[in-house]
Amino acid sequence: MNVHEYQAKEVLARFGVPVPPGEVAETPEQAREIAEKLGGKVVVKAQVHAGGRGKAGGVKLADGPAEAEEKARQILGMTLVSPQTGPQGKLVRKVYVTKAVDIEHEYYLSVLVDRANACLTIMASAEGGVEIEKVAAESPEKIVRLAVSPVAGFSPYLGRRIGFSLGLSPDQVKQFTKLLSGIVRCFLETDASLVEINPMIRTPEGEVVALDAKISFDDNALFRHPDIAEMRDIHEEDPLEVEAGEAGLNYIRLDGTVGCMVNGAGLAMATMDIIDQHGARPANFLDVGGGASKESVTAAFRILLRDPDVKAILVNIFGGIVRCDRVAEGIIAAAKDVEIGVPLVVRLQGTNHEEARKMLEESGLPLIVAEELDEAARKVVEAAKGGAR
């Protein structure tokens, strides 16, 4: 789960990470009030779950309260389009008003899980404020990486090793070590999967501050962090994906025309791949899970059909413990409940698939039945290309 910058900074501040003071506003008037409280110059920052906000016009400097209000009015309600939002952009509903800080140097700092070595990795670079992927690709020697044992946790030497390699002065290294200690503790204690500070800055006065912050949390661990689970902003998610999640389905909307309903994530990806090989694009990833009951199949049809780009649907279920005849019952019942209206190709394989095929054929529903995976993909692609809604 991702959170907004203001939420990430609130969490980091709990662990003693220095961040510029600021508050979130939903109206220009609130932005003015916050700027009055902060005093001096402020920065008004669009709060959306995407990077590249500055270049997209979502981050503006204001001289004082009146200008903060004006900038907030410009940013609130705008559709922010950056390389990370996709072409449709994201509607800005909140701005974060923070005290402006003078920058002498920008650094990059992040902590993430190193899956290959089963530890955490700290990544830091004196080349901050830019896309770290670019630095990694063009001059990887400018990125320092250090492993942190999840058992041992943080130790101050980590801060010293990285701090001195970034060219910080001894006093700044002390500040940095405290900041890094806070970030690592935050990571371990909140079950984060990524904490990224880009940029971390050094002010002309020699202070080390987290100027921006991004945190992703491990969805599987949210049960232990109800306060963080509450930070979820469903406006930032695709409404169909939210609805699917509520129905216990794993759905991701894509840009093609062939709707897919599959059991199991690996088979769902493989089904998308074979549709692509037959010359059409999958409209989605959808894993109905192990059960594939009447309820889950019905919910899945409803969600697939809400996507206006879907021109045909392929149901590909491998019946294992779940018998295919039971899945066929679910499909037939669901197809009676939901107006499908596009060609539907059904492929059931595995336990009791022959009975299932017979049931589908005898149901009188306008289904296209397929036996093999390749045949199913070919049929659904033909239907999507020829079929009208």
Partner: protein, 292 residues
């Protein structure tokens, strides 16, 4: 022969008295597996489905001689269950549970390395089957048949699809292992391929990978350097967009790394038979075994 499990394997089921545990214990027994004990804290002394239940894994192991544990414990308690099995020095632990927090798995991984006595398969996997002899997991036994092909996979139902293609061509399997769809797993491809290389029954291996991580690339290097038996591979997720998690927590393309195209390229460069279509797995195995 086979790898890891056979008719002599004695299994303890952690979480046996729950609904999942009960259902799959019956299925495992029906498939010929010797389930000798269950573990549910607080239910020690009871008998469930004709099988004795113990409070701890250590006690179950001491009293029954179990050498393998299978875990059907809910995600929030599953890492603790694995740690308990490691502490009891259980040689083989199969964790079926999906959705274990990543930091919990980091601790498990460290405990595995520190102990050196336990091999973990999973989590988030269908388990292990040696057809006709033992099934330790949740896969449908009836689609499998004994034979010469070893199967390793990060996926569940996609593995069933591949196995079904083999069985329907009359090609059986030595042992099939779902290694798990999570970013942190107990046994990556490289730790299991050597077992298939040494197993006299296994003549070829099917390896089913996914986008995300570098496990397939590491396997490719190991295969090129050490493996004499042919390997047929499929990588799921060629159409998956970067930055989106495709169901499995491990299946995510991040920072341009871990794409299907890159993995397939590396596998091909190392002499592995890569199939682009998931429908061609069975036919390609038949070809490399000279049975086409």
């Amino acid at each position: 022969m086979s790898i890891l499990v056979d008719a002599a394997t004695k299994v303890v089921v952690q979480g046996m008295t729950g609904s999942e545990g009960t259902f799959h214990t019956k299925q495992m027994v029906a498939a010929g597996t010797r389930v000798v004990a269950g573990v549910t804290p607080g239910k020690g002394g009871q008998v469930h489905e004709g099988i004795p239940v113990f409070d701890t894994v250590a006690e179950a192991k001491a009293k029954t001689g179990a050498n393998t544990s299978v875990i059907f414990v809910p995600a929030r308690f599953a890492a603790d269950a694995v740690l308990e099995a490691i502490d009891a020095e259980m040689p083989l632990v199969v964790c079926i549970t999906e959705g274990i927090p990543v930091l919990d798995m980091l601790k498990v991984k460290n405990a595995l390395e520190a102990s050196g006595k336990t091999r973990l398969i999973g989590p988030n996997c269908p388990g292990i089957i040696t057809p006709g002899r033992a099934k330790i997991g949740i896969m449908p036994a009836n689609i499998h048949t004994p034979g010469p092909v070893g199967v390793l996979s990060r996926s569940g139902t996609l593995t069933y699809e591949a196995v079904d293609q083999l069985t329907r061509r009359g090609i059986g399997q030595s042992t099939c292992i779902g290694i798990g769809g999570d970013p942190i797993i107990g046994s990556p491809f490289t730790s299991l391929l050597p077992l298939f290389e040494q197993d006299p029954q296994t003549e070829a291996v099917v390896m089913i990978g996914e986008i995300g991580g570098t496990a397939e690339e590491e396997a490719a290097a190991w295969i090129a350097a050490n493996m004499t038996k042919p390997v047929v591979a499929f990588i799921a997720g060629a159409t998956a967009p970067p930055g989106r998690r495709m169901g499995h927590a491990g299946a995510i393309i991040s920072g341009g790394k871990g794409t299907a195209a890159e993995k397939k390229k590396v596998l091909r460069e190392h002499g592995i038979h890569v199939v682009d279509s998931p429908a061609d797995i069975g036919a390609t195995v038949a070809k490399v075994l000279g049975r086409a």
